[in-house]
């Protein structure tokens, strides 16, 4: 083979390799795009339908976009049901839950990682094993407790049962354990007791883990539906998901209004996700589990 022929062959192989790489990448993007469309389509449909007329929602074949966006749908929704109150309730309960659960989680994680007391590891193992119990089973005992405390149809009942979270405690405890002992003793020698050390050193260092916990907790609390439905009866105490459900069953099926209401419900979470995307993805990847 002459040098020229050999060079030609090399070029051909390189071309073939390039083509193969291109095809592989094309296929990857194709499937990713397909997945994205499947995931995003319901949101797209909800969002566009929120601006349609009743006729546009019902036509077949469906219309992708409304002829003229009808902002009145949102006004109608807020007229027909007190979504403003629902929104306020959801926001209050999410804030209370984030603050309360966060505090309990920090204290529990500190105790299980830094304080030495007999039976600590046994106790923690027991707590972890409780994670096996499905939420639906806890509903019964939680309901009894809340009923005994006369908190049925009280907004307090929406976050009090969830103040202690084993899962969040577990995430934070592991993070705390990764902070070297030297820092603790340095802080002690520098004059800090346990309490000061926790708030001045441990919590600031654990900010990535805490951000994850706050976000996961906020999303869970905002979206929570089954528990509020069981314990809340009156309109004034409803949260958004509950309000949406009631709106659907009571007001008859007006899809464009329902979609407008749904948009109001999910918009804050979508915004939160867009703002804190990195921390959520990173946090879930670090935790290695579902949220």
């Amino acid at each position: 083979m002459t040098a020229k022929e050999s060079a030609g062959l090399c070029a051909e192989i390189a071309r073939a390799n390039r083509l193969r790489a291109l095809l592989a990448r094309g296929a990857t993007y194709f499937f990713l795009a397909l997945g994205a469309v499947v995931m995003l389509f319901p949101f797209f449909w909800m969002f566009t339908s929120a601006f349609k007329t009743p006729q546009e929602v019902a036509t077949f074949p469906p219309r992708w976009l409304p002829a003229a966006p009808r902002f009145e749908n949102f006004a109608t929704v807020f007229e027909k049901a007190p979504f403003g109150i629902y929104f306020l309730n959801s926001a209050l309960i999410t804030a209370a839950s984030v603050a309360g659960t966060g505090l309990v989680t920090i204290l529990a994680a500190f105790a299980f990682s830094r304080l030495k007391f007999p039976g600590r590891n046994l106790l923690f193992t027991l707590l972890l094993s409780l994670m096996m119990i499905p939420f639906e089973m806890l509903v019964i005992t939680n309901y009894e407790t809340i009923a005994a405390w006369r908190l049925i149809d009280n907004r307090l009942s929406l976050f009090i049962p969830f103040l202690g979270s084993i899962f969040y405690t577990y995430i934070l405890r592991n993070f705390f354990l990764s902070i070297p002992d030297g820092l603790y003793w340095s802080a002690r020698v520098d004059g800090a007791g346990n309490w000061t050390y926790l708030w001045k050193v441990m919590v600031p260092i654990a900010r990535p883990a805490l951000t994850t916990i706050v976000l996961l907790n906020a999303i869970t609390s905002w979206n929570s539906f089954m528990w509020p439905m069981l314990v809340i009866n009156s309109t004034a105490n409803r949260t958004l998901p509950l309000g949406l459900y009631v709106f659907m069953t009571e007001g008859g099926i007006n899809f464009e209004l329902l979609m407008a209401a749904s948009t109001v419900v999910v918009l804050p979470i979508i915004l939160l996700f867009l703002i804190a995307r990195k921390q959520i993805v990173g946090g879930v990847a670090r935790g290695g589990m579902k949220g």
Binding site: R188, V189, D190
Partner: protein, 355 residues
């Protein structure tokens, strides 16, 4: 501050870390606690800091018992081997942290922190985070943080062992300088005898949880109380010649060599002994001086001003320095004599010094 430890003992389960340790550290001194790894020197430091509770014994700061006090009430500064700076705080934040806890007003604590940063030469790095600093810089910050609240006692736990050789030398001198400027009573834990010798006012030498000897560096070297002390200090290590005394002569183990050793006459005859000789304490005698014994040359290392020879004396290896102009060939026999200084006689069983 004067620090007294009386009968200090620490057991971890059945492991003895420190046993019946009694030492007094004088005010303003820099004292090294020296010993091989696992000898309990870091435990002594942790006992002084209040990080581990004592099993028995007492610690007194200026005559007051502090044995039961937690670290935050002892008024000490501590620098860990890995510095343990707070990663989320700047250099300034780290140095002023102890004052922040004392609730010193911001302006005042920043002023103190800046002054301390200037003392350890990190005043140009105040707004960096620890991860943006080199090892030596982190060390300086850690020292500044330990000193900022004007502790009565500064504890340094192997502070140089994470640094490279050149930086280690530099920081050693820095620590000495800072200590001399502040005159703070300082305890410096190290396993490096050269480090301890060069930096300390006094050295406390430990082994297996027990105090071996406490003295000035030179006296420790020249007047070791037992064989461990003699072995631990000095490079190259001190030579050992096992044997016993008989009729005013030292009989080398193996019986091949005997030589008159009048100085050893006080030792009980027949008892196993170790004749320990520093490498600089043996020499080739002048002809009229008379040799103690003859050694066969194994190898010679010429290192500029010094020539280190490896010899065989009656089956025992022996190292000593020779005159620079003398380069005997391997295999030849040369006479060797000992100088009085740097030659010790130890009990072969207890290691106690007899001479």
């Amino acid at each position: 501050m004067k620090v007294e430890m009386r009968g200090l003992t620490k057991h971890f389960g059945s492991t003895v870390a420190v046993e019946d340790f009694t030492v007094t550290l004088e005010d303003g001194h820099l004292t090294s606690i020296l010993g091989p790894s696992g000898c309990g020197k870091s435990t002594v430091l942790n006992l002084l800091a209040g990080i581990v509770p004592a099993t028995r014994g007492e610690i007194l700061f200026d005559g007051e018992a502090v044995t039961g006090l937690p670290p935050e009430l002892r008024g000490i500064g501590l620098v860990f081997q890995n510095y343990s700076l707070y990663p989320h705080m700047t250099v300034l934040g780290n140095i002023s942290f102890p004052l922040e806890i004392k609730k010193v007003p911001r302006a005042q604590r920043e002023e103190s922190a800046r002054a301390m940063a200037a003392l350890v030469h990190v005043d140009n790095l105040l707004h960096r985070k620890p991860r943006e600093l080199s090892g030596g810089q982190q060390q300086r910050v850690a020292i500044a943080r330990a000193l900022v609240k004007k502790p009565n006692l500064l504890l340094l736990d192997e502070p140089l062992s994470n640094l490279d050789a050149r930086l280690r030398l530099e920081m050693r001198e820095e620590i000495r300088r800072i200590q001399q400027e502040t005159r703070v009573t300082t305890v410096f834990v190290t396993h490096d005898q050269e480090e301890a010798m060069s930096i300390s006012d006094r050295i406390v030498l430990m082994n297996a949880g027990r105090l071996q000897q406490e003295d000035e560096p030179q006296r420790l070297y020249h007047e070791p109380r037992n064989q461990f002390v003699a072995d631990f200090l000095g490079t190259p290590p001190i030579n050992h010649l096992p044997g016993h005394m008989k009729g005013g002569a030292f009989i080398l183990e193996g019986g091949q060599a005997r030589f008159p050793f009048s100085r050893g006459a006080g030792a009980p005859e027949g008892r196993p002994l170790i004749l320990a000789v520093r490498a600089e304490s043996a020499h080739v005698p002048d002809p009229d001086e008379g040799a103690l014994f003859s050694a066969s040359v194994e190898s010679i290392y010429a290192m500029g001003k010094e020539v280190l020879g490896y010899f065989d004396i009656g089956g025992h290896s022996f190292r000593c320095y020779l005159d620079g102009d003398m380069l005997p060939r391997p295999g030849t026999e040369i006479p060797i004599a000992f100088r009085e200084r740097g030659t010790f006689l130890f009990d072969g069983e207890t290691g106690e010094r007899l001479l």
